[in-house]
């Protein structure tokens, strides 16, 4: 099978669903979501089919190395989860869109993530700046629409505007950086960047560093590393919850893949490697400290998860700074998979609690174990895993990253990491305390879950617990 067929199938799926939505306006919108999920499962199955080598035209732009394949599956799984949790989000969408018919705009909410998924799959395969830029923009355009989807809600509009302006600004940084790098090395290839840099005279390194800095700014915006994280809490809080989950996991993971491919090349040049290492270490330390310290004071669950997502960026950046170690890549891959499972679990519980309690403040979680034991258990597993306590996927995620950092001898980074883990335990366990030790507020009814949601929650809990005991399969697929 031609590897490009994976993306083509996803785009085709999106187009077919869009046409179904256009021609059958009265169709039950749940069916569109279910068809999307089924189609994505089919594509996920296709990724295990043997792949042909690429044709000569696409080879300089597109790769199917293990990293790309791994993250293609990652993106598909994340899109499936997004669609799955959107099923519970239908009433909110209907309330949030000024439409003539009650179902207006719901179908597109399920179709947009599929298009984003296709562009993310291209993105993780991109080994040329051109391919990278086009697929990155393709993803961002879909996100602009999705984030500001609930037009009646001023907070959503605020989030959409903030994301649009800041994202457009960083796109400017990215293009400008790419221009500088192209101007100096004469290539847009990321794969052979180190070869081109090695041929340069030493005085060209300074302008090259300028270009590298600009590109790093753009990538750091995508992963929300410390000085470029200001957009994140507001956008997370305003965006529709399934899209927040998608943004926080898929978009961030894609940013890390880009960062990895780019930095890997720079680390091959010793003079550049040292400078870039210093920058990444600094970014990692500041991101860790900022994310964890700012998360402590949060009273809103969505903002708490936003700051926690900044903190987790910091942990992954620790491994990115140790990129020379043999296990750095599997450690990052495993961490992101664990992050996918635990963060989407937290967002699903948040979504349902918000629906039934009328808010996403932490006090809305009071006495959740009496209202729905499964939800409380799911949130507990998610929080324990996010905090990195043993027997959960999050523990091994942090363990591998700390191991890699230790092997490379970055003890300062290790120290900051340890402090952040301790700080993290405080605010994650605070949520568990609210759920089990506080009485539910008056008038709050027990929560009943639909069968599909129960299945998804149970699956994610199982994944977190299994990976917390047996992490080998994920590690092996990236080695």
């Amino acid at each position: 099978m031609n590897p490009l067929f994976l993306e083509y199938t996803v785009v085709l799926l999106g187009i077919i669903l869009l046409m179904v939505e256009a021609f059958l306006p009265d169709l039950d919108k749940k069916k569109i979501a279910l068809a999307g999920i089924a189609g994505l499962f089919f594509v996920l199955f296709l990724t295990w089919m043997p792949l042909h080598s690429l044709s000569i035209e696409s080879a300089p732009f597109y790769t199917t190395d293990p990293l790309a394949l791994f993250f293609k599956r990652f993106m598909i799984v994340m899109t499936i989860i997004t669609l799955w949790m959107s099923l519970d989000f239908i009433p909110v969408i209907q309330r949030g869109i000024p439409g003539e018919r009650p179902g207006a705009g719901v179908g597109e909410f399920f179709i947009l993530p599929i298009f984003a998924c296709a562009s993310l799959m291209w993105l993780v395969s991109a080994i040329s700046f051109i391919m990278l830029f086009v697929s990155l923009e393709c993803m961002t355009v879909v996100l602009y629409i999705s984030i500001s989807y609930l037009r009646k809600d001023p907070k959503t509009l605020e989030a959409g505007t903030k994301y649009l302006i800041l994202s457009a600004l960083t796109t400017g940084f990215l293009v400008y950086g790419i221009t500088w790098i192209f101007g100096i090395t004469g290539t847009t290839s990321i794969e052979h960047l180190a070869d081109s840099i090695a041929l340069l005279p030493p005085q060209s390194l300074t302008p090259l560093l300028f270009g590298v800095g600009l590109v790093l700014v753009a990538f750091c915006f995508k992963i929300a590393a410390f000085p470029f994280q200001f957009w994140l809490p507001d956008v997370y809080q305003g965006a529709p919850t399934p899209i927040t989950a998608f943004l926080s996991i898929a978009s961030k993971a894609a940013g890390f893949v880009l960062l990895l491919r780019f930095l890997e090349q720079l680390y091959l040049i010793p003079t550049l490697g040292k400078k870039v290492f210093a920058v990444t270490t600094l970014l990692a330390m500041m991101t860790l400290l900022f994310g964890n310290l700012a998360a402590m004071a949060q009273t809103n669950m969505k903002r708490l998860l936003a700051y926690s997502s900044i903190a987790h960026t910091g942990y992954v950046l620790m491994a990115v700074a140790s990129i020379g170690a043999a296990l750095a890549l599997p450690a990052i891959g495993f961490y992101l998979v664990a992050y996918l499972a635990m963060t989407s679990l937290a967002f699903i519980v948040l979504l349902i609690v918000t629906e039934t309690s009328g808010g996403n403040e932490i006090y809305c979680f009071q006495g959740l174990h009496e209202r729905s034991p499964l939800l409380a258990a799911a949130m507990t597993v998610a929080m324990i895993s996010l905090a990195g306590l043993p027997l959960s996927a999050g523990f091994f995620g942090k363990f591998f990253i700390f191991q890699v950092t230790f092997q490379q001898g970055h003890y300062g980074l290790l120290g900051v990491g340890t402090i952040s883990v301790v700080a993290g335990i405080y605010y994650y366990l605070k949520v568990i305390k609210v759920m089990y030790w506080k009485q539910p507020s008056q008038g709050s009814a027990p929560i009943t879950l639909s069968k599909l949601t129960t299945v998804l929650i149970s699956l994610l809990i199982a994944v977190i617990l299994i990976l917390g005991i047996y992490p080998t399969p994920i590690l092996m697929s990236l080695q």
């Binding site: 785009v11 187009i15 046409m19 256009a22």
Partner: protein, 124 residues
Amino acid sequence: MTDTYGSLLVHVVVSLAFALSIWFASLLLGRIGTAFGVKNAAYECGMIPKMTIQPRFSVKFYLVAMLFILFDIEVIFMVPWAVCYRDFIVQYGDIILGSMLSFVTILMVGYIYAIKKGALEFAS
């Protein structure tokens, strides 16, 4: 010195003289004919230059403008495509045509979607 910048000086002098003469001419001639509000107003290609700052207009215009940009810009893309790849048609003809066809097909899907969603129905 005079050779290089002399022509520039002549240019500046001539343009200034032209602008000033037009100004004086309109001052002199403008008093002869009848003057009324609209005639004295600045000419803006047929638009009324003085009106409320934010006039109300149908939101449909915004949709039309967006669709226009979407479906018009593709021509700007097609012309360089046709010119750039002329030399490669013999060798890679299928790929060149296929890429453009897939692009146009996706655009076509968008067009059908816009029609079905009633984006071009102005009466309602």
